[in-house]
Symmetry: C2
């Protein structure tokens, strides 16, 4: 039984229209006034079809085939090049791209819903357009007009691909250690020399140009992160006739052998005096890269969500079909395993994560759209602060919970889940990278407690918590006494107290480090609970009473079985760093 994927477009539309007030919010944004949840649903229906019919069928074969390096050229899995060409032809890479550069100018909110479906269907594939978009964003924000004129349009439409070349063997999280060098030439270009590892989409055989954004040091650069600059280094340079047909001095040193995303070429890249151009100011490379990285981090969180949903859908389907054991209610004969409480719990915990995660991702994306487009600078700033606050939470929690979800979904399959052909073990292996790349989840947690919590003196955090409080206070009628609201009040208090603890520890690296992951998890649990409150509040708008029942039951499960984790993280934060730092480094 190969895995299947049903695009969750109806759910997405419900979230936009009834839970997140999408239409009214877009109406306030110049350039997006006409975008409605109806339009979004139409676009996403087409996108969903492409994901389910074109990308999902390539996922399992792509995992088996992997990528090859043949005579220095990456050969992608069968079907990937054609699928990419169709993807570009249909205009999907530029969905939220700048119309001035060939994009369709739709909101980021629609983009992240597309991202979720692409990731669910085929993560290895999704990284090609994903990294291309990241490169386009960095170039749009920091590139010179000349560079933009030449490269930006091709990246926005996806005609050319992008890659981010940051990591080196001894410089991962700590980019200050990187050694790649860029020597200025007389014509204003630079000769870039060095070796980068873990370069997703570093090369492929799609027959197009690949624009690498490479972090490197100028000859006179200071040590550490302040000596790092960003360079645009294309695979093909313009030749004598003006066409981009001259190979740059860069090559794939090797393809990494990875746990998952086998159909994604993760390259060791050698730059041997490759020609590049400075993007943004010298010494400000990390800053330019972070423009790209923040959007990428949200995208990675969405990948965790997408894989979790795909795995969950398959687990539910299997649990309905697989006959083992007897019913608890005395029905005669063998029953589908979905009848067993233990199996139901696994499925419930999967769905209790996926539904509010999708809502929280969309909430955050709407804040991005507001921060990009709102006419009022103060409104834009407040929205941008929300995005900054939520970015590490979504990246880390969605990928940690997403990985756990794929593992639970695999477990539902029993022994069959361990077999390649069922597709479940691939979800687990693919999900595992999302906890690691674009900054490990530990790094995200440190970002949250050491920078985001104290941003603007803590104002964005306070306003975020206040928004949750408002929704809890407004939970009236049947909802007022709902166990979710009661449990959420307790959990919110824990988060408020933990926020004070973390804010008070500002500058104390050990205290922050010990609290970081716990605080991020607590933050995420409360945020997902908040979305459940909003979903329940909106549920009466659903015509299908059975769907209302479903949300009610899932939210009830979240309150009873998931949200109690908040107290665990609060207890660990209260425990402080003493026991974490007690053991001598030599004695581990």
């Amino acid at each position: 039984m190969p895995s299947t994927y049903q695009p969750p477009v109806a759910t997405m539309r419900f979230l936009l229209e009834h839970v997140l007030d999408f239409d009214a919010q877009m109406a306030a944004l110049p350039g997006l006034e006409e975008v409605t949840s109806e339009l979004a649903a139409e676009v996403l229906t087409m996108a969903g079809r492409m994901c389910a019919e074109r990308l999902a069928p390539l996922n399992l074969p792509g995992d088996a085939a992997g990528t090859q390096l043949v005579d220095g050229q990456v050969v992608t899995a069968p079907g990937f090049a054609d699928a990419y060409a169709e993807f570009v032809e249909a205009g999907w890479p530029g969905l939220a791209g700048d119309p001035e550069y060939g994009g369709q100018g739709l909101p980021r909110t629609v983009q992240i819903m597309l991202d979720e479906m692409v990731s669910a269907a085929n993560l290895s594939f999704g990284l090609f357009p994903g990294l291309t978009r990241g490169a386009a964003e960095a170039l749009a924000a920091h590139g010179s007009n000349d560079l933009k004129a030449t490269y930006l349009g091709k990246l926005v439409t996806g005609e050319w691909c992008g890659a981010m070349a940051l990591t080196e063997a001894s410089a991962g999280t700590d980019l200050g250690l990187l050694r790649t060098r860029a020597e200025p030439r007389e014509d204003g270009s630079y000769a870039v020399t060095g070796t980068k590892i873990f370069i997703s989409s570093g090369d492929q055989d799609f027959g197009n140009n690949i624009v690498h954004l490479v972090l490197a040091r100028l000859p006179d650069a200071p040590a550490g992160v302040k000596g790092i600059s960003l360079f645009l280094v294309p695979k093909f340079l313009p030749g004598a006739a003006g066409a981009f047909d001259e190979r740059n001095a860069m090559s794939v040193g090797a393809l990494e052998h990875k746990m998952g995303i086998h159909a994604q070429p993760t390259c060791v890249m050698n730059y041997d005096g490759a020609t590049g151009w400075l993007v943004g100011e010298a010494g400000r490379g990390l800053n330019a890269m972070f423009t790209m990285m923040n959007a990428e981090r949200l995208f990675v969180g969405i990948q965790g969500l997408g894989l979790a949903d795909a795995a969950t859908q398959n687990a539910v389907a299997y649990a309905r079909e697989r006959l083992q054991g007897r019913a608890s209610d005395g029905r005669p004969g063998t029953v589908p395993i979905i009848a067993h409480a233990d199996v139901r719990k696994m499925l419930l915990s999967c769905r209790a994560f996926v539904e509010p995660a999708r809502a929280l991702a969309a909430w955050t994306a709407i804040r991005m759209d507001v921060s990009d487009h709102h006419p009022d600078a103060q409104v834009r700033a407040a929205a941008a602060a929300d995005v900054a606050l939520l970015t590490p939470v979504i990246k880390a929690a969605f990928t940690d919970f997403g990985f756990e979800t794929t593992v639970q979904a695999q477990q539902v399959f029993g022994g069959h889940g361990y077999i390649h052909e069922a597709g479940m073990e691939q979800f687990v292996r693919d999900a595992r990278i999302t906890q690691i790349y674009e900054g490990t989840n530990g790094v995200q947690a440190m970002d949250l407690v050491s920078r985001k919590v104290t941003l603007d003196g803590g104002a964005p955090l306070r306003s975020y918590l206040a928004a949750i409080t408002v929704d809890l206070d407004r939970a009236d009628g049947e909802l007022a006494g709902h166990e979710l609201v009661i449990a959420m009040r307790r959990a919110l208090t824990m988060l408020e107290e933990a926020s004070d603890t973390v804010a008070a520890a500002a500058g104390e690296a050990d205290a922050l480090g010990a609290a970081a992951t716990e605080y991020l998890n607590l933050f995420a649990l409360v945020s997902l609970g908040w979305m459940w409150v909003r979903i329940l509040k909106a549920a009466p708008a659903l015509e299908d009473a059975r769907l209302q029942d479903t949300y009610k039951a899932l939210a009830g499960y979240y309150a009873a079985y998931v949200l109690p984790r908040a107290a665990l993280h609060a207890a660990r934060i209260a425990a402080g760093p003493a026991t974490v730092m007690a053991l001598d480094e030599a004695l581990f």
Copy 2:
């Protein structure tokens, strides 16, 4: 950097000698009086050398090479056949085997410590002798004298291998659904026909015989589990000259493509009227198989522990070497990541599990030795009840926590952990099967709450909890005020209350199913905490004061960061099954 493995023999000896009173306990067992922790450590030192020097180096290459099916014959990874021959030559398969059949008659306690090291070094390899031992145990307990005379000695010494053929495509957890048939022949043998899947060690190229124990139905057998009998079906039958050189009518239909344990041939087996002999009584096959399965389940738990330890050792080594970021204490320059609180937490949570898990495994194994050898039947029965109680806990919790540990250890490596060559992702993939096979962990949890808790009216459970209480009450001196003891008292109370809840729900499948996994986790957390109390109590016997500091710090971490999980599981048990059963099956 390929992974390394340091056999934990010194720790094992400390546990036996000072924590578990091994010498005195063995002294009371006829036939084992002479076995001391000193002797055990000598044996384990040799075993550890073989694991580290012979088996560990084959682990990563074995994963890459996998197993092949060539012209119907399984070809194992390079080096495996030679290593197995050496393993047999050195007498390791029969370490705890019956001397009457060529075994060395050492305690099971020493055997499970060998099992841990073999699993840590090379799980794919370890399953060959592991399943052989299981087959030998079932045959010893249920086989006729004729069958034992022919097959048992060869299995005990490992000269021949064993395999367990239970699962069919539509009969996994629910073996009552199986269809393989056995037709009696006039000579007293049976013709076995059917297809089995997921058969570990089903075939190999070690040049020896493979004794399959196959579950099948007799022609007149009733439906369900009571119609199942067990048959011994060897790969080679005695030919005309008496030598076992005639191929039986059985063949490998396919090798499964799996997430991990790639060097272990997991076979689809076809029995096409293969010649077999009844083991035990007709219709009592499941009973005979459970003899084998209980020992196997403990072994699987030990696999989780072994993989966790191996992964942890490598994570610690990497965290000492990998330089990224600045120190919290103002030391100048870049520091090893082990200095960072977030990384320390990952390593501490790994070790905080591994150390007491090893102790609890040994405690249980000593109870097995007592149940096998003690002259007093009542003492034997009490010990057997302890083993029955702990078996599902060790199988499920050690593999769930073990898997989490391998994931955490992999995370310490950042991006490098996702790369095959580092060996960390293999630990994760290999560990994943331990949560599934020999009965999924959900099945183990149901076994615990529906059978083991109420065994003998709950007497074994009460006596187990009482033993923990006694050790907490005896924690005096410095230990009395230790946060571990304080936290353990709270957690033990939760476990006692949860035990009452579970006992009161006897017969209510939904209530038991909703509580099962939570109860098993709570039980395991308290049991591991108990072992920490015993380790701390014994620590002053250690000559190395630094090792005492290590245990103190790890136990402190366990109390502050791990044991608080107990409250989460207790809260879920208190929540009951209502929210688990609320959602209609059609609406998931």
